[in-house]
Chain length 142, copies 2
């Protein structure tokens, strides 16, 4: 089994509101936006973030998807501590929640913050000086 | 704010068991494996899947991360319906759960199944004939 992720699908209460948060609030451009139904944002080569109603995602999976564990976080890495602070301010202005203000991150001697989107999905916004993406997409740490 | 995801972090009960599931069970190779503490698997250009203890992730975020919503699914796309079935069998043999057996997926006229890992994180295993990744990484649908 090739190790790859093709989609990250967030089940949301209100698709329009969630899409507006990522699109207008954060300035992201959907690859595809079926208004009020589902939207996809490209977030890496070959990877789409999908925003879809929790009920529709549950119906598709044939289970109550909301019963799954939520101890999950996405991370958005940026190039400097100032950029972490700028992203967090934009996140807050767009109506998202700031769970942990930007601060020194001892794990990688950088800067990070934790934020949540309108539905409570957690993102770490981070500047990690040891994190590098090579030309072929390979990630190296430290 | 550039639209990108750098990490997907799954908080797990037992890091060793979760890493063994993805590594030995599914045949994935960690980029980095700090035994029993944390491991990272590259899952797309520039993107790492991290497996980390829920308690450690909560401490890092400064919140009880397990209180976040779980209506979330990852997807792993493959090249044929047969491949969907093969991945699902490997998943089951590795100790994962099959939530929805491979079947016709009307949303994209393909084949899909839903499975859960040892901690209950949901993945869709899918063959979507309309899903394409261009040479530059751009995803097109349908």
């Amino acid at each position: 089994m090739k190790q790859s992720v093709s989609f990250l699908t967030l089940g949301v209460r209100d698709v329009r509101a969630a899409v507006a948060f990522y699109r207008d609030g954060l300035g992201w451009t959907p690859t595809f936006d079926q208004e009020g139904e589902v939207a996809f944002f490209q977030v890496a080569p070959g990877v789409l973030l999908a925003v879809w109603g929790t009920a529709e995602l549950s119906a598709d999976a044939g289970i109550d998807i909301a019963q799954a564990p939520g101890a999950f976080a996405l991370a958005h890495n940026v190039g400097s501590a100032d950029e972490v602070r700028a992203v967090v301010e934009r996140w807050r202005a767009a109506g998202g929640t700031v769970l942990k203000e930007p601060s020194h991150q001892p794990l990688f001697d950088g800067t990070s913050a934790y934020v949540a989107d309108l539905d409570g999905y957690r993102w770490e916004i981070a500047h990690n000086p040891g994190w590098r993406v090579e030309d072929d997409g390979t990630v190296t740490l430290g």
